[in-house]
Symmetry: C2
């Protein structure tokens, strides 16, 4: 028997109902915030991702050569493709350009809980400038999307890469030289960060201050002992988010996101119930387009792990009930089959989800099927009832049967639903 | 500048609004018909498609080896993956199992009008048996989906592979031996089909009869000179479709769909305005699961080319207008910025798509931006008006400005919309 590829998933009917429900809820939130959707190809030139993240990424992605000998790969993430699209075609749009997107991404990694080789990302980017309003808008969108899902247990941790960068710069470690250190700090690998800082000539005091800073977290007041532009900026972002009505936010200067293109505010969202793979969202202010050959433009964006968010909701017992079939139409014998077709078509046009016996089964087997697929009502189309323009409607939960005129059927089923 | 891969597309904001609008419309029609959605991985073991369509397909698809040296490929179509999923996990579901799906597929072919290397397919399968009701249900779903889009100019052509197969069998060409002939007939390559039939020992009369049959098309009456099971079956399918209320159907015995797994009714839909690439839908009754190592199960299904359907709608001038931003909120000076945030958040929660000045622009530039993004109203948050709990609302089309209380703003904008 042919199997699905390792690390990928098939989604069955109930799971897809849940997934489409949350997809469409999150999309509405984006639209309400004035973001507009874009979509890029499933595969890209591999160069796009090696330019962004370095050649090492090739080991983690599905990279291959197409028949024209071009190096292409399945996209591991969506920010780089969207910025590429921006540079190619969208630079004339009014700024800020507020974009969102949803789609599958791919990573070749060992499959494990919460990590799949094909996974779905929601994300958004505001392209055009760098202001506290822009950063707050983006963090606010992520927060609103998560809030709308009904997820209870999650933390939004916001930092500013500039605070650590300026501490390092004061100690003489600036620009690209700071990057390997920031990458270790991002992962809280202090044992590995310390010799790097020592090697760069930093004093023990300076090193300790940097490490202590990455451990600062809590309400916005925890910044009171700090100074400088980055601190003031972060306070402004928090102030705007308060006015937007968000409360569950905290400062965490340990959010570093160790990639060279981040420029300012950075943030992450964890759902602690997920254990090791608890991060469900990450983002920040960055500048990427010039790496791909475009003009330098400041942007802020984030990605939400759609699958992990659903797993977190599932752990909280918050996934919605399955959608049920409203009506299953059964003709009693061959003579009423045509009429049953007409009734089914009428219900569907009237917005009632309806199905009919397609396998010419007897009544008993039809009831069994209706029960198995979770139909709410069975519409029994019998010759005698048809003479008075009626059908029998059986409520599958209570077992009661009611005669209903065909004329009044849509209204009857519509009311019965609510 | 890094470009998108050849033959692929990026979809901008307006295009995505159109695409999501039609995707969600078509999805609702499927759900109303009692079909349930499934989703399979973007890539599969290559074996799945070579088993279904022969090794030749490798030349037309994105096939590659993953890092574990497995032969995988980007899926060129969705029926094989869905049947694989059925065999792997869904055989215990009540039958008929009515499934639909939507997603990208991939073909490595020369890019040209209406043919893309990544394209989107909508499709449905009813798995479980073979009855005229099942076939009519599937054709009816395709017809309802196309009808719902508002497409005007298209033809649904329905045939039955059994009619040609029995003519060939009568002439001594049965089973697999008939396949190469059917493939030529499918493409109307009579010059190539004729020598094959001659070579199989058929008489000139027999050959002429086969060719004449592939040219039979029109209303169901065109079958009156034929006999046999397939003809009676096709008449039943037409009868049911009439009771479902479909009128724009015709018989076309030239619909052959030259693949071995088709077993009965076959159908295609053309949108003539599309020229050479005019087919927007194709399907039929088939038996595929046993090829993949599962039990033999009869199914009927179809695929709708989502991109081509949209191109056809565009040629008819029927694509909907773009979605507009309902409110763009502008603070007059720094002092009202916080209040502007609160108003924006309130509107968004009230279901009004709202955006605000994120770039601290002056009033003139903000109006220019609001105009460029097509905002319906600009909400001007000024200190004086705030004293009375109000804001000025400017209608961008008429240029008129109205004072509205903040309390009544959602209701004002909601009414203004309709």
């Amino acid at each position: 028997m042919i199997q699905r590829p390792r690390g990928t998933r098939d989604f069955g009917p109930s799971e897809m109902e849940t997934r489409r429900y949350f997809e469409s809820m999150m999309r509405s939130i984006c639209l309400a915030h004035g973001f507009r959707e874009v979509q890029t190809p499933t595969f890209e030139h591999t160069e796009l991702f090696t330019t962004k993240s370095g050649p090492g990424i090739i080991d983690e992605i599905y990279a291959f050569k197409d028949k024209g000998d071009r190096e292409i790969c399945l996209r591991p993430e969506l920010t780089a493709p969207v910025i590429r699209f921006f540079i190619n075609d969208l630079t004339n749009y009014p700024r800020p350009l507020k974009l969102f997107y949803f789609g599958p991404c791919f990573r070749y990694e060992r499959p494990q809980a919460g990590r799949f080789r094909e996974f779905y990302q929601f994300g958004a980017e505001v392209i055009g400038s760098s202001t506290p309003e822009m950063d707050a808008e983006v963090i606010g969108l992520a927060a609103s999307m998560l809030e709308a899902t009904g997820l209870q247990d999650y933390r939004i941790r916001i930092g500013h890469i500039g605070i650590l960068r300026s501490l390092l710069a004061e100690a003489g470690v600036a620009g690209d030289a700071a990057l390997p250190i920031l990458q270790k700090l991002d992962k809280k690998l202090y044992d590995e960060a310390t010799p790097l800082m020592k090697g760069a000539g930093m004093s023990d005091d300076g090193i300790e201050k940097v490490i202590r800073t990455t451990q600062i977290s809590g309400p916005i007041d925890v910044l009171k002992d700090y100074e400088g532009e980055a601190k003031v900026y972060l306070e402004e972002v928090f102030d705007i988010l308060q006015h937007y009505g968000f409360r569950n936010l905290q400062v965490d200067l340990g959010v570093v996101r160790g990639l060279a293109y981040y420029t300012g505010v950075v943030f992450e969202v964890d759902a602690p119930k997920l254990g090791a793979e608890k991060q469900i969202c990450g983002g920040g202010a960055y500048s990427l387009s010039e790496l791909f050959g475009g003009e330098k433009v400041h942007s802020t964006g984030f990605g939400i792990g759609f699958d992990r968010t659903l797993i977190a909701l599932d752990k909280e017992g918050s996934l919605p009930m399955k959608v049920r079939l409203q009506a299953y139409v059964v003709p009693v014998g061959e003579s009423t089959r045509s009429k049953a077709c007409e009734i089914t078509a009428m219900l569907r046009k009237g917005g009632i989800s309806a199905d009919m016996d397609l396998m010419r089964r007897n009544m008993g087997k039809n009831f069994k099927y209706a029960d198995a697929v979770g139909a709410e009502k069975v519409i029994i189309v019998g010759e005698k009832e048809l003479e008075t323009g009626s059908v029998n409607v059986r409520d599958m939960a209570s077992g009661t049967q009611t005669m209903v005129s065909i004329e009044g059927l849509i209204s009857y089923l519509g009311h019965a639903k609510s």
